[in-house]
Every structure is written in C-alpha cells, then in structure tokens.
Symmetry: C2
Subunit: 432 residues, 2 copies
C-alpha cells in the first residue's frame, strides 16, 4: 500500500493525464446508466448511500482525524480547521442530507412544454440530465456527499475533486458512497473522487477530459473560482463575488429597513448573500440614515461611508473607491447616500456582482422599477438578501449559486442540473 501511494503521489504528468482520462471515460459510461435509471432506483440508491455513510462513520472519523492533524501541523487557520473537522453528529448530518435529496421530486423526465403543430406533430420539451458534472471544492468534506447526491438525483455522473486538506476524509466518504451505489445496482462510477492531490488534476478537469465533463461547479473561495472561470473549456456554474446591496429607498419604513438591513448584513457575514453595501436614498437620509448606521455599529458592524454617512456618526470611517467593489465576508459594510432610484440602480450596476440586491420601500412603483432594472440573478423587495439560498427558495438543496447568464442562475438545485431534449411524435409526416 505505501508503495502504491508513493506511486500515485509522484505520478508523472502522462500518468496523471491517463488516469484522469480514464476517470472521465468511466463517468461518461456511468452517466448513461444513471440518466436512464428510474426515480425510484435513484432514490433507493441515495438511501443506500446514506446508510453506507452511517456505516462507515468510524472510518470517516479516523481519516478525518488524520486530515485535522495534518491541517494543524500545517498551521491552517482555525476557520479552515473548523470547516474540516467532523464528529459523529456531523457525519450523521451528512447522511441525513443525502436522504433529504432522495426525498426531492425527480427533476428528470418533466414535461417542460408541449405543443401540437398544424400538421399534427406533437412536440414535447422534456427535462434530461446534463451528463457529467465536475465539482471542485476546498476544505468542507460534506461537499463530497452533498454534491454527489445532487448530481445523482438529477441523473448525472459526478467527478469530485476535494481540496488536499480534506482529501482523506473525502476519500472515505466517496468510498462509502460508491459502495452504496453498487449495493443498489447503479454504476459505482457515477460518483468518483479524483484519487490524487496533484493540483494538475484540476487543470485537466477544466479541459473537459476530452468531452467527458459537461459542466464544472467550483465550490470555494474567490481564487478557486477565478482560476476555474479563466481556465475552464467547459461551462461553469459559479459566482465570483456576492457584492449584495440593500437600498433603503424613499418611502421605506424605518423599522422594516433596520430589521432587514441587520439581517442582510449580520445574520451570517461569511455567506455570498450577505449584504456588503448600504445605499440610503437622499429623500430619507435625514430621518433614516443615523438610526440605520447606529443599528449597524451597535450590532458590531464596522461602517465605511461617504462624507454624508460619516457626518451621521463619528465611528464611521472613510470609504475608498475600492470599498464599493469589495466583498468583505465580514462584519464590515460600505454605506453611501444616493440621489434617487436611478442613482441607486446606476451604483449597483457599476459596482455590484449581479448576485442579490434588495430594495426597501413602500412605494410599489419604485420597487417594480428596481426589480426590473437591476440586472442581478436575484432581486428582492422588502426582504433580506440572505434568502439567496436554494433551501430558502424551496429547491431542497443547492450545489451553489450562479451569477452567469447561461442555463443556471441564482441557486443551483437539482432542476438546474438538468437540460432538455425535444421529443417529436408523428404519424408519418414529411416536410413540404
């Protein structure tokens, strides 16, 4: 075994390319089996996978302890180590999440549209799986199970690439999942974990493995997403930044504005739907600005503001130009006064990231214009930006949030992991 590991760790570039190509071919082959599996077969398989994960808990925890020891030795940050660390409760939660995916409606085979043509042809648009999904993630070991389960539910094969910090844990989870698949008669290759820590494997995945990867989903920090977006030769479902705005417009109720703003910013500061910039309309600045800024400061949020905002409270520091384009992912907010709805929309279009933006107002016309004209994946009236989440949208679970314009936008759930085909039913029609 040590010899084998050494061989894998020090494999040359050719060996790696061969190995990755083989993973791609297996995924493509498995994807045909999974695509044609019945809803019941997939759900039984997902329940078997959950059972396997529960049964493998001792192995998973043992491998996780090795990852955690290595992470501590490498002086990784406490937050990374926390994300990495599993206990029995967390393993149990991973298995439960897989069972929850089994309980979702089958996203494959839905009739999305149907139309009969004058010549009698009946044309249906039917949802079908995407094919092979490549998921590249960092330190959270639960992504192995979550992403694998979502892909499987949507009839896709998954190629999972774990960050090297969580590699041992991910391997133990993926092995358990493949066992569950085999036991239930579905192809074990439908969920494969890239078995090497060699970073060149990521580059190979991004090439699409000779047509064997249909889409890449990166799950991780900005540098990972940036690399994936710039190198990928296949479509990517991702967002680079979540520079989300809360715009407190004219006719905003102060109480609602305060509650929604605090929730948008402070409920969790590290998620992509957290607000990063507050825009206060000049029309309500006199009454609303000071209480809103004070509420932020008192909740422990640092405020970086323009001149007007600085006058509202001496604790506000000066915002630089860069602040308007910064995703803090922390208890910091940038704030400025804007002169009306058009200025608010212009600020968001110039500085935002097309993720999630909210308007607070009792003026329905202003809200309608904001929802129409702000070109973001999610636009919100009178509610928190932190609702930007597949679970909150009722999708059951999500593999991520996308801000690209193609195919999947907003929360990417099982439905977004499908595409469609046209089925044409005739009775001998020919085209004139």
């Amino acid at each position: 075994m040590p010899v084998l590991n050494l061989k894998s760790d020090f494999a040359g570039a050719d060996d790696l390319a061969t190995q990755m190509a083989e993973i791609g071919r297996r995924a493509r082959a498995a994807s045909r089996g999974i695509a044609l599996a019945s809803a019941q077969a997939k759900d039984l398989a997902l329940r078997a996978v959950a059972e396997s994960i529960r049964g493998a808990a001792p192995t998973i925890l043992r491998e996780n302890a090795r990852d955690v020891t290595a992470a501590k030795a490498a002086d990784l940050t406490p937050s990374i180590i926390d994300r990495l660390t599993l206990d029995e409760g967390r393993v149990s939660a991973i298995a439960e999440a897989v069972e929850k995916v089994a309980g979702l409606p089958d996203p494959v085979g839905r009739q999305l549209a149907a139309f009969e043509r004058p010549n009698g042809l009946l044309i249906e648009r039917i949802s079908v799986p995407l094919g092979v999904v490549g998921v590249i993630f960092e330190s959270r070991p639960n992504v192995t199970a979550d992403a694998g389960a979502l892909c499987l539910k949507a009839g896709n094969a998954a190629i999972l690439r774990a960050g090297s910090d969580s590699h041992r844990t991910a391997t133990a989870i993926a092995t358990a999942m493949s066992e569950g698949l085999s036991r239930s008669g579905l192809p074990a290759d439908a969920i494969q974990l890239v078995p090497t820590r060699d970073r060149a494997a990521v580059g190979l995945m991004l090439t699409g493995l000779d047509g064997c990867v249909d889409v890449i989903v990166p799950r991780g920090g900005r540098s990972l997403v940036e690399r994936v977006q710039s190198e990928a030769k296949v479509p990517v479902f991702a967002h680079l930044d979540g520079i989300c705005h809360v715009y407190v417009a004219a006719a905003a109720d102060l109480g609602m504005a305060r509650t929604v703003l605090l929730n948008s910013k402070m409920r969790r500061t590290g998620i992509c739907g957290a607000a990063e910039t507050l825009l206060v309309d000049a029309a309500v600045a006199r009454t609303h600005l000071k209480p809103l800024i004070e509420a932020l400061l008192e909740s422990g949020c640092a405020v970086r503001g323009d001149e007007t905002v600085r006058l509202a409270d001496p604790r506000v520091t000066q915002a630089s130009e860069a602040d308007w384009r910064t995703e803090y992912l922390d208890a910091i907010i940038s704030a400025r006064v804007v002169d009306g709805l058009d200025a608010a929309i212009a600020h968001i279009e110039a500085n935002g990231s097309h993720h999630t933006d909210a308007i607070i107002t009792d003026d329905v016309d202003a809200a309608t214009r904001f929802l129409n004209e702000v070109d973001s994946a999610i636009v919100v009236h009178n509610a928190s930006t932190q609702f930007a989440d597949g679970g909150e949208f009722g999708f059951g679970a999500e593999i991520g949030i996308a801000t690209g314009r193609m195919h999947a936008r907003g929360p990417v759930g099982v439905e977004q992991l499908t595409t469609f085909k046209y089925r044409v039913h005739g009775s001998g029609q020919t085209r004139p």
Copy 2:
C-alpha cells in the same frame, strides 16, 4: 472616405483591439436600453428597420453587385455566389422576415415559474434578455437582418461579423437597420456590424471583448464552427455536425418508412437536419431493405452500405468506417442493418452528433425507448428529420440549431435568446 477605409483596412493589431473593445462597450451600453424597452417599442423598431431595409434597396443591391463581382473575380464556387447574390425579391424577403419577427410574442418578461414560500415570500422566475449576442457568419447577407432582428426581439444587443465575401452587402443592410433603430428611438448601437474584414476581429470577439459579449452564435460551415468552439472564451450556441439517423425498426410500415426516409434524406440535402445514415432492423430487412434502398437510388441518392445492404442492390458501394461519422450534406447516404433496438441506439450514440434522430415503427414501446435513450437534442417518432427547424417547431424563426447541452438546445429561437432572473417579493421577512 477612401482614406478612412484604407486606415480601417490596414489598422494595426492595437487599433483593431481598441476598435473592437469600443464596439463591445457600445453594445453593452445599448443592451441596457434594449433590455428595458417595451414589447411595443421593440416591435415598432423592427417595423421601422424593415422599412429602412426596403428604402435602402438600391444601395443594398449596388453594394451586393460589388460583392458578387469580387466573388466572381476570386473564383468562388457557384453555390457561394448564389447564396451571396441578392435581387429585389430577396431584399424584399429580408424586410418581410424582420416584420415576421416583430409579429412574434415578446419573449421577455414571461413568468416562467412562481412559488410562495411558507414565510410568505413570493418568488417569481422571469425571463430577461441574455445581454449581448455575437453572431459570426459567412456568405449569406440575409443573416445580418435575421440575426439582428431576433436578437433585438429578445431584448439583446447584437454584434454581427459578416464574412468578407458579403461585407459590403452586410454593411449596407446593417446601416439601414441602425437608421431604422435611431428613427424609432432605440439605441442604434443595439445592432452593430464589425466594420473591418480583418480576421483577427473574430478572435477578439471570441475572447468576449472584456465581458461585453455573453454568447457567440456561429452561422456557417464546419471549419467556422470548429474554430469558434475551440477558441471561444464565452458560451457558444452551435452544432458542429448534423449526422442524423433514420432507424427503420421492427414493426415499421414500409410505405411510411419509404416516404419519411426519402423526405429526411432528399427534400434538401444541404441542411443540418438531413438524414445521413439509414439503419434497418434485421427483423424487417428481408421485406423492407431492398425497397428502401431502391427508392433512395431511384431518387438520385448514392448509397454506401455494409455487406447486407450491398447484397440488396448492386449499385450500393462499400461503406467505410468513416462513412458512419460523415455528414455528406449531399445526395449520399450510408446504410446498414442493425440487430434490434439496442444495436440501433448503440450505433447512434457511437457515431451520431446528438442533433436529430428518428425511429419509424408502429411499436409504441420501442418508440418510447428510442425517444428516451437516444441522447440527441431532437428525437423523432414516425416523422422526417427535416422538421428540425425553428419555423417547423413554431418558434417563428431561428438563429440556428444547437447541440450543446447548456441553455439552448435544438432550434434557437427568440425564447432561447433569453435567460431569467428571480424576483422576490417580501413584506419585511428576515432569514432565521
């Protein structure tokens, strides 16, 4: 004017990059105006565009004559020269096609889904324009108007790049279109033609012009599509090949099989939905093979077959392995006998191009399996493969047919030139 033209023709790489970047910025700016234009404003603009094209007919025909003279001098093929040549009737047809697009339902602002969450949030999925569409085409000058009109109807700005053979004609048409747009109060930059014949402009478009192009649609031959697919840094709606199959299965009615096969192959041989391979099930080979092959031969189609097919008629030549993967776009078909439904599906999956494939049979179960298991954009039961067309699907018009798995698949009409956003309506909800 000659000086300006010379300057543009001999512009250096930096000049070209600057020029293309400016086109991108203008398109992005125009896309905001078009995206928010009402259905009525867009339709009035399209009618104004059609009028402009009619009014500019003398100019368009004069420029077209110059293109045709140059094409003849350059010894281009008669079919290219035919595609290139306009007369008054063809200019009129171009204007009518634009008016037809005006008459289509507005694809923007449709409610694609709506769901109320237990917390009272109402979430809508609403269709919105894609943004900026880059269209790269070859010698057909009508694509300038067709593609520009479809993009505009879907609320997108278009950057059009004409082949150098049709550059003068395309410039005259695009100029007329911009005039029509300006007259109707929409941004003239919503339809821009790349003003240089420099081929490096294509490469720059494929980079996405610094985020100013959202999708590329190539309209032309295989070499163009291949280049676009391999170089593009942005999504591409295209198909490389249309290797379409007609599978005459067990329980196929011979009369229907013959009619549908002849139409699939011979109605027009040069379109992507034309059949290129005939598969005859061994179960009906004794009764059906000879009449089908004879019908093909008698209609003027050359047949390249396997051993069994050659025995059916001495005029059949031997098919090579390459024939199963060849898109003839001509009066040639490859033909073989397959041993049952699974063998037919396996042949199509191994050799097809995921475009359009048909089964002829009276056995509904076999048809259902074929429609489910053949992984093509369009699968057809008992009808011609030549129905693979946006007009025949009822989409009104199409910008092309896509075989990729993302976003647009099958005929790409105005609906497929949109994406969506989520509008969330709240009453002060915060996330627990």
